[in-house]
């Protein structure tokens, strides 16, 4: 289906290009070019570049082509009179020969696989840091010596950041620690694979810290009444926990089953709404540790749940439930993703392009002012004229005189 469409639209595109090329009237050429632009826009859609397709239609087929047509009409030069003596008669065969060679070379490259099309590369891994570490107000996190979280307060999560694939050493430090000198509170090795979204969650205490790597799914949910949760167990006092919807002992759906201390669950889809959440120990759901009442479960959202404890001033422990939002990443080629990239990674180039546009604007204004245009072209003399004034007229001079005559 797609291939058929591609062939049809591609044929239209080529045909319109050829027609643009050969039509004698400039207006016709412009119109054929509009058709060609439309075809390109269609291809952009097929290549999951919806935003660019829109821009193509609006900017190219719209604004630019209008500009072209306007100039053609303004100058009344839609048609050139054919010349008796084409200036470069050898240009046509030369250009066509070069064009054929070019096509041949491209074909060769494509056929020979010289263009690397092997990869089906998707998004890079994304990582973030969550601080659920007791007894420390803030933590630093280093990935192979590079800091990914700085003074992260308790109960907070950093933003997801794209990271290169590979195997890394993850190290947890207290605030104001020097990674080159001080010993880390905890270390672990992590593999970053493509498409992953990892939350490095620090749990435990200062003396017995533990790093939990929770893999999340950031894609959008198919249904609008569900949300996706990933659970991390940070309660040290028990071996395993179960997380159950509701406050009762046996009734209610079990959301997470047998989650060991220091482990993270698989992402799970749950229904949205308001609910009580109870945590049981030991996997037999007899020993309820704590119940968090009336929690709002917002659908169409990803959430990371961290259950942990926190030491109080009277040496008792308080159970803590951290619910951290993990927003879905925008889809490929969407206006949102392009906008995000533009305003984040490509901010500076965009500023420069904006500057270029401004210069173009001013330049256009200056160029079209009368004052500049009426200036006579200055005949320049070479500082050192060629030393053959009496030589017979060069061929190009002859052709020029014949042209002007």
């Amino acid at each position: 289906m797609e291939l058929t469409l591609f062939i049809i639209v591609g044929a239209v595109a080529v045909a319109s290009a050829v027609l643009m090329l050969i039509s004698q009237r400039a207006v016709h050429s412009a119109l054929f070019l509009v058709v060609n632009f439309a075809c390109i826009a269609f291809f952009f859609l097929m290549l999951s570049a919806a935003f660019l397709a829109m821009v193509q239609i609006v900017v190219y087929a719209g604004a630019i082509m209008v500009l072209f047509l306007f100039v053609i009409m303004l100058l009344g030069s839609e048609r050139l009179y054919p010349e008796q003596h084409p200036r470069f008669p050898w240009m046509v065969p030369a250009a066509i020969a070069l064009a054929l060679i070019f096509l041949l070379a491209v074909s060769l490259a494509v056929i020979q696989g010289e263009i690397d099309l092997s990869g089906r590369e998707v998004a890079q891994p994304y990582v973030r840091v969550v601080n659920a570490l007791d007894q420390l107000d803030a933590v630093d996190m280093y990935l192979d010596g590079e800091r990914i979280a700085d003074d992260l307060a308790y109960g907070e999560a950093s933003e997801f950041g794209a990271w290169a694939r590979g195997r890394y050493d993850l190290a947890l430090f207290g605030p104001d620690a020097d990674p080159a000198v001080d010993a880390p509170l905890a270390t672990t090795k992590v593999d970053l694979n493509r498409g992953e979204a990892l939350s490095f969650t620090a749990v435990g205490t200062r003396g017995d810290a533990r790093l939990v790597v929770a893999e999340e799914d950031l894609s959008e949910t198919d249904r609008s009444d569900v949300l996706r949760v990933t659970v991390v167990n940070g309660i040290r006092s028990v071996e395993m926990i179960d997380v159950v919807r509701g406050s009762g002992s046996s009734e209610g759906a079990v959301l997470i089953d047998n989650l060991a201390y220091g482990a993270a669950s698989e992402p799970a889809l749950i229904r949205g709404g308001t609910a009580d959440l109870s945590v049981f120990s030991d996997g037999i759901r007899r020993d309820r540790l704590v119940t968090f009442a009336d929690r709002a479960l917002t659908p169409e959202q990803g959430q990371l749940w961290v259950f942990t404890t926190r030491a109080q001033s009277d040496n008792s422990f308080e159970d803590v439930f951290l619910s951290l939002e993990s927003n879905a990443l925008p889809s490929f080629g969407s206006p949102a993703s392009i906008g995000l990239a533009l305003f984040a990674r490509y901010a500076l180039p965009m500023e420069m392009v904006a500057l270029v546009l401004l210069v173009a604007m001013i330049g256009t204004l200056i160029l079209t002012k009368d004052m500049l245009v009426v200036r006579r072209p200055v005949r320049r003399r070479l500082a050192n004229p060629p030393a053959e004034p009496q030589a017979p007229a060069a061929p190009e001079t002859a052709s020029r005189t014949s042209l002007e005559g």
Binding site: R87, F88, M91, L98, A99, V106, A394
Partner: protein, 768 residues
């Protein structure tokens, strides 16, 4: 009175001060001031000399050695053992010379005041005279050969300066004067060469140039010492320091004592590196070289030719330098070196022959001269020959005696001649003033030509009488000074022949006797031509006596010429010996001249000498009688066919100059010309430099610059330039200015890049 010895530097310093004053302030002092300064310097030096004499007598004739203050170590190279101090030696010999030099010099200074009156370079003349005194006294007072040589060269310089004093006289006279000066200088240079070599040999042989070290006394020959007055010579009690110094290992002895000791030991050989030579042989060589120096300075064969020409200088100069003092330097040197000369028999023989021959030859030439000063000049040469012959026969005290007396009477004669010339010139001017044009300047008048004189005895009586004294002294008429000294020389040479059977004694005696006869003859000829008879020219007729400054020295010298001989009355001469003492000069000199010995008196000998002299004078007066002179106005000997050839020979100075010119100077000049023109210019410059070095370099550079530089290197760069230009001209057509062609170029480039990228693929595809 020993302190007087310390005054000896003054005899050099005082004339030096005088000359410096006249040099820098002479222009402003005027003739009177200059005269006072110069004569004062000279006279004070004479005074110092007298003081030294007194001191020497007072201390028992013991020689004293005094260092020149400040300059005593003027050449000192301790590492090489070279030490030439500027030391003055005050002994009887040097004091004798000092007295003669300063005494006669002072008289001549006074004389010069009158003679040089009105000369535009009056101060300069006295500067030169004082300079001469400085050097002459340095010569005689030094304690080593090097100091003597400094003076030796210095008096040569003064001689040169004074001979050419009138270098700017008109009509070529000045040119002749300067030529004479150069001739003197060059002839002396040849002699100086001998002295330098002799000094080097002496230093090599003895390791020192000192005559005697300060602590030494001359060692006298054994036989001699026995008859000498022992207590007088005995050295005073040696201090310990002197005894130590006597034992010092490095050249503890001066030249003479060392030579004496070695000769007594015998068998000493001198090592010259490549060969060794016996001490006697070495001394012979040394003394022969010293003799060469003496022939230059004292005008002996073969280097005497400069002295007659030196009469071009002012007459006082002739008197002082070229008669009384400087020319005796050679004699002084040989007397000073009497130890060496005594040891060298061969040299003694040569010295005798040279001296006697010179005496005879110069006397002969003097007979044929018309110039009043030339006669005296040759006479001087002749008398110097007497002295040299005396040295040759070992009569050192006789040589010194003759030196002193000769200084008196020859100075007197020259000054008298100067007075005559002065007077005749005055007469000439006088005559010109009165004749109103009968005498033109075009007709040259020679005031020195004796043929223009005659009858001056009446016009210039003082000059005449003093001149007569000088003539008698020179001719050797008893009792004038020349008689005693000449007689002693003749007797000593004859004694050498009779007592030691030496041939040179006989030869010397024979030649000198003839020369003495010649002397008497040419002096009577001169008297006859100058003073006797009637004036033969208007100038002579109107000549006038010179002023007091000139006549006072004449009279003083006349007295000295008359009584100077009493200095050394020989043993056995009646009456006078007891009056003036016997052998005064000899015994005086014995203290410093080891081999001085007293001459005896032989009545027969003296009679022969006086008779020969009187006879020669009589013959001269006979030939040159007034009648003949007035009649022919030519020389009677010239006109007489029997003697005309001999006279011509004498008149032409025996063709010495011609001989030198023909066989030495012209060949030398030819050789020099050949060396300069052929060897240096043609071969060295034209061939070696021009052809080989320059030419080959030129060819090489031509090759480098032509084919290589221009042909290859330049051409390469030019061709590159031309090529680039041509390529650019072609390439410029690519730059059409049309955007479409540029676009095609870009496309072509893009395709090319693509091909480069795809090159591995294409190669794989084609199976390469």
């Amino acid at each position: 009175m020993e302190n007087f010895f310390n005054l000896v530097p003054l005899i050099v310093v005082l004339p030096a001060i005088g000359l410096l004053i006249n040099l820098f302030a002479g222009k402003y002092l005027g003739e009177k001031g200059v005269s006072i300064v110069a004569v004062g310097a000279s006279a004070s030096a004479f005074f110092v000399s007298v003081l030294l004499w007194i001191a020497l007598v007072d201390t028992g004739y013991k020689a004293a050695v005094v260092d020149m203050p400040l300059l005593d170590g003027w050449i000192r190279i301790p590492s090489a053992g070279v030490d030439f101090p500027w030391q003055f030696r005050v002994d009887t010999l040097s004091v004798t010379m000092m007295l003669v030099v300063t005494g006669v010099g002072s008289l001549i200074h006074i004389y010069s005041i009158g003679y040089m009156h009105g000369d535009q370079r009056f101060p300069r003349f006295f500067v030169y005279l004082n300079l001469f005194l400085v050097f002459m006294l340095t010569l005689v007072s030094g304690n080593n050969y090097l100091m003597m040589f400094v003076g030796w060269e210095g008096v040569g310089l003064c001689s040169y300066l004074l001979i050419g004093f009138w270098f700017d006289k008109p009509k070529g006279e000045g040119w002749k004067n300067s030529e004479a000066a150069r001739k003197a200088f060059i002839a002396n240079r040849i002699g100086d060469f001998g002295v330098i070599i002799a000094m080097l040999l002496t230093f090599w042989t003895f390791g020192t140039l000192d005559y005697y070290k300060p602590h030494e006394e001359p060692i006298h020959a054994v036989a001699h010492a026995a008859e000498a007055e022992e207590p007088v010579f005995a050295p005073e009690v040696e201090t310990e320091a002197e005894a130590e110094a006597a034992l010092a290992p490095v050249s503890p002895l001066g030249v003479f004592n060392q030579a004496h000791l070695w000769l007594e030991e015998g068998g000493h050989r001198v090592d010259f590196g490549l060969f060794t030579m016996s001490l006697k042989g070495t001394l012979t060589v040394i003394t022969l070289l010293f003799l060469l120096g003496a022939t230059g300075k004292s005008a002996q064969i073969p280097l005497f030719v400069w002295l007659p020409d030196a009469m071009a200088g002012p007459t006082p100069v002739s008197a002082l330098i070229h008669a009384a003092t400087m020319v005796t330097a050679g004699v002084y040197m040989m007397v000073r070196s009497n130890v060496l000369f005594h040891a060298a028999d061969v040299t003694s023989f040569v010295v005798t022959i040279i001296g006697a021959t010179t005496a005879l030859m110069a006397g002969f030439i003097a007979m044929g001269q018309w110039d009043i000063k030339k006669v005296l000049a040759y006479s001087t040469v002749s008398q110097l020959g007497f002295m040299v012959a005396a040295v040759g026969v070992g009569a050192y005290s006789a040589a010194m005696f003759h030196l002193v007396t000769h200084a008196f009477f020859k100075a007197l004669l020259f000054l008298g001649a100067g007075s005559v010339i002065h007077g005749v010139e005055h007469g000439h001017h006088h005559a010109l003033e009165h004749s109103h044009g009968t005498h033109h300047d075009a007709e040259p008048f020679d005031a020195q030509d004796m043929r223009n004189m005659g009858g001056l005895s009446r016009r210039m009586p003082i000059t005449y009488w003093t001149y007569l004294f000088g003539t008698l002294a020179l001719a050797g008429i008893i009792p004038f000074a020349g008689f005693w000294s000449k007689d002693e020389i003749l007797l000593d040479s004859l004694k050498l022949g009779t007592e030691q059977g030496r041939l040179d004694g006989y030869i010397g005696f024979a030649l000198l006797l003839v020369a003495a006869a010649f002397t008497a003859f040419y002096m009577s000829r001169q008297l006859a031509m100058v003073f006797w008879g009637k004036p033969r020219s208007e100038a002579a007729n109107q000549a006038s006596e010179s002023g007091l400054p000139m006549t006072i020295p004449l009279m003083a010298l006349a007295v000295l010429s008359a009584i100077g001989g009493f200095l050394n009355i020989p043993d056995g001469f009646p009456l006078l010996g007891s009056l003036f003492g016997v052998h005064e000069l000899t015994s005086w000199l014995e203290h410093s001249v080891v081999y001085a010995h007293a001459g005896s008196f032989n009545l027969l000998m003296a009679t022969i000498a006086v008779v020969v002299a009187l006879g020669a004078m009589y013959v001269g007066r006979l030939i040159y009688n007034d009648r003949v002179l007035l009649a022919v106005r030519r020389d009677p000997l010239e006109t007489d066919p029997r003697t005309s050839r001999a006279f011509a020979l004498a008149n032409a100075k025996l063709y010495w100059d011609e001989f030198y010119f023909k066989y030495i100077i012209w060949p030398f000049r030819d050789a020099a010309y050949w060396l300069a023109e052929k060897l240096d210019w043609a071969f060295w410059h034209d061939f070696v430099h021009e052809r080989i070095i320059y030419g080959s370099f030129r060819r090489a550079t031509d090759l480098l610059s032509g084919p290589i530089d221009r042909g290859i290197i330049d051409r390469a760069f030019n061709d590159v330039g031309v090529g680039i230009r041509a390529a650019a001209a072609r390439l410029r057509t690519v730059q059409t200015g049309f955007v479409r062609t540029y676009a095609l170029g870009v496309l072509f480039g893009a395709v090319l890049v693509m091909f480069i990228i795809l090159f591995p693929v294409i190669r794989e595809l084609l199976g390469m």
